[in-house]
């Protein structure tokens, strides 16, 4: 199970990084979404993987799942969800304003200096 989870995290991170490096806003946002999935699973696994173990102390149970990573993941999911919504809105605004969805700013720099001289 550890191998499976680790591979999943690795593949998602790799795919996310690849998409981020495309430098166009839609793939970059998708890539960041993938990266946040990867980090959520990673955080979840940081409390050790266990199947069918209760996270709350109870009589007669020996093996417990660590409840803290679950709380951390919940916080991380909420935050990353909100952040993704914000970045989608800002990217949409930038795209509609300049009809260009490239994330790199090298070209706009040149345009500005050319326009000024």
């Amino acid at each position: 199970m550890e191998l499976l989870v680790a591979t999943a995290i690795g593949i998602m991170t790799a795919a996310g990084l690849y998409l981020v490096m495309r430098l166009r806003s839609f793939p970059v946002i998708l890539g960041i979404a993938l990266l946040t999935y990867a980090v959520n699973v990673f955080l979840f696994a940081s409390g050790r993987l266990s199947v069918g173990a209760p996270p709350i102390l109870r009589d007669g149970v020996e093996v417990y799942a660590d409840p803290l990573p679950q709380a951390l993941v919940l916080t991380a999911i909420v935050i990353s969800f909100g952040m993704t919504a914000v970045v989608v809105m800002i990217a949409l605004g930038a795209y509609l304003g300049s009809s260009d969805d490239s994330v790199n700013d090298a070209e706009t720099d040149e345009d500005e200096t050319e326009g000024a001289t």
Partner: protein
């Protein structure tokens, strides 16, 4: 237990929704509440700094839960100093935003401003790493809104970059936190300090990885080369008061490095030894060099200021990476100085922008009110470039003094001194093109119906003058502040009172002897 320690977080958290909900369409009421809020912040921060100035560490347990089960806020000399610095900066920047009318060029400036302050204050006060992440996100999400305040094509584009870069940084932060939790089972900084010291030296891969990841995250926030790419365009395109407030944001990264690497991963801890000297120092020297070369090479005044911020962060990081008590106190002195000087320069660039169509470093007719603006630029540039008599020079002197005993002394001296020269040339060039040679250009005659640009309002001048006055005061009382920074640094290098205050203060679920023994048995 008094509740004052959480007041810097609670106050803006209450004010911001009030401003959004009750004063939505009344810019006057928004301004009154925002300024009143910041003034109260300063009063609270002064009280907290006074309380911490004799070396006491105050603790606030949220919900009365004992650490490490609950989240704690901790106020020691360093935290309260940074809170006071933030509140002071926030007042002048807010006055400028009101005086220049920036706050009225888009919606919700004041509410976002308060949320931003909430995040910064929380990041300085928290004693828990995951809580630090949450406060980082609070300050970031407010900064996204402030960054694109008043809109515009170039600003939105820079905003997208800024948000994406910070989202990547946040993801990295979570990876680091997950790794730390997996290795130690705690995220409370004081508790972590105890447990990291217990890690078996033969099994340090995980904790070393986590410490390095954490350093990377804070280096992104501190805009350390090669992780600085987000800074120049976002600071240059952000509205001027926002860029001035952002001057404290890079310091949040520097603060986090100082806090975590003195408390948790201190140089004495075997598992993470050698991290600062091997990686941080070269990166810091390169940042210093690149920042100052950027000052010389910039084609626009706002970019120039942004690069000077990178350079000054490089200076701070050089001092941090030497990592002795003397060098950390030099870093603290330089942090306060460069925050004030950087913010003043961003505001002065905006005063200049008000009088001319663009900020390109090309000849243009003189701006309205050029005499006062250029005088202020002169003073702020002297401070930023580190020429005597202002505080930048003193900070640099302290840094060089601290570098004497290190093996990398030659490198530090060479880079610091040469980059200072470069930045002096860069600032002198910008100032002479912007303000001095402008006299030689005849202003174009005004067209019909075209009005001459107005001089900036008095309040704008007062707020920038206030920042420069703070710099002058900071220089004049350098003896006293230097003693205070030394005491702060001393407290950082003797973290036992901090740790025992956090871990041993009783609360709900206090770690009593029985559970401690049970843990040891595990």
């Amino acid at each position: 237990m008094t509740h004052w320690l959480i007041a810097p977080v609670i106050l803006p958290a209450m004010l911001a929704p009030f401003i959004v909900l009750a004063a939505r369409y009344h810019i006057g009421i928004q301004r009154v509440f925002s300024v009143a809020g910041v003034l109260m912040q300063i009063a609270i921060a002064l009280g907290l700094a006074w309380q911490a100035s004799d070396g006491t560490v105050t603790l606030y347990q949220l919900g009365d839960w004992a650490a490490p089960f609950g989240i704690v806020l901790v106020g020691d000399r360093l935290s309260t100093l940074m809170v006071l610095l933030t509140a002071t900066l926030a007042l002048f920047v807010l006055l400028y935003a009101i005086g220049s009318g920036w706050d009225n060029r888009g919606r919700h400036f004041h509410a976002l401003y308060q949320f931003q302050l909430m995040g910064i204050m929380g990041a300085f006060l928290t004693g828990d790493l995951f809580n630090l992440f949450v406060f980082f996100e609070v300050l970031l999400i407010a900064s996204y809104g402030l960054m694109i305040h008043a809109g515009g094509k170039a600003r939105l584009k820079a905003g997208v970059q800024y948000v994406l870069f910070n989202l990547l940084g946040s993801t990295l932060f979570l990876f680091a936190l997950g790794a730390i939790y997996a290795e130690t089972g705690t995220l409370n900084m004081a508790d972590l300090a105890e447990r990291v010291a217990l890690v078996d030296p033969s099994e340090t891969v995980g904790i070393r990885l986590a410490a390095t990841l954490l350093l990377l995250v804070f280096a992104i926030k501190a805009a350390l080369v090669p992780l600085h790419f987000w800074l120049p365009s976002s600071y240059a395109e952000a509205p001027a008061p926002v860029a001035a407030l952002f001057a404290i944001m890079t310091k949040v990264g520097a603060y986090a490095i100082i806090r975590v690497y003195t408390l948790v991963f201190s140089p004495e801890v075997e598992v993470t030894a050698g991290l600062h000297g091997t990686w941080l120092l070269p990166a810091a020297l390169v940042s210093l060099a690149i920042g100052m070369i950027g000052v010389l090479g910039a084609k626009k005044l706002d970019r120039l200021v942004a690069y000077s911020v990178i350079g000054s962060m490089g200076m701070v990081m050089v001092a941090i990476s030497i990592f002795t008590q003397v060098s950390i106190s030099a870093a603290l002195y330089y942090i306060v100085h460069s925050t004030l000087a950087g913010a003043a320069l961003f505001l002065i660039a905006d005063l200049t922008r008000a009088g001319r169509a663009h900020l390109n470093l090309t000849l243009a007719p003189p701006i309205a009110g050029a005499a006062l603006t250029s005088a202020m630029f002169f003073v702020a540039a002297i401070a930023m470039a580190g020429l005597p008599p202002l505080s930048g020079f003193l900070g640099k002197l302290m840094l060089l003094n601290a570098a004497f005993e290190t093996p990398a002394m030659a490198w530090v001296f060479a880079v610091v001194l040469i980059s200072s020269l470069i930045s002096v040339v860069g600032f002198a060039r910008a100032g002479s093109v912007m303000y001095w040679k402008a006299k030689s250009v005849e202003p174009e005659p005004l067209q019909d119906g075209q009005e001459a640009p107005e001089a900036p309002s008095i309040l704008s001048y007062v707020s920038v003058g206030g920042l420069i006055g703070m710099l002058a005061l900071y220089t004049a009382f350098a003896g006293y502040t230097h003693d205070y920074m030394t005491a702060t640094s001393k407290q950082l290098f003797a973290p036992e009172p901090y740790i025992s205050t956090v871990v041993d203060t009783p609360g709900k679920l206090t770690r009593d002897k029985v559970t401690k023994e049970a843990k040891d048995a595990e």
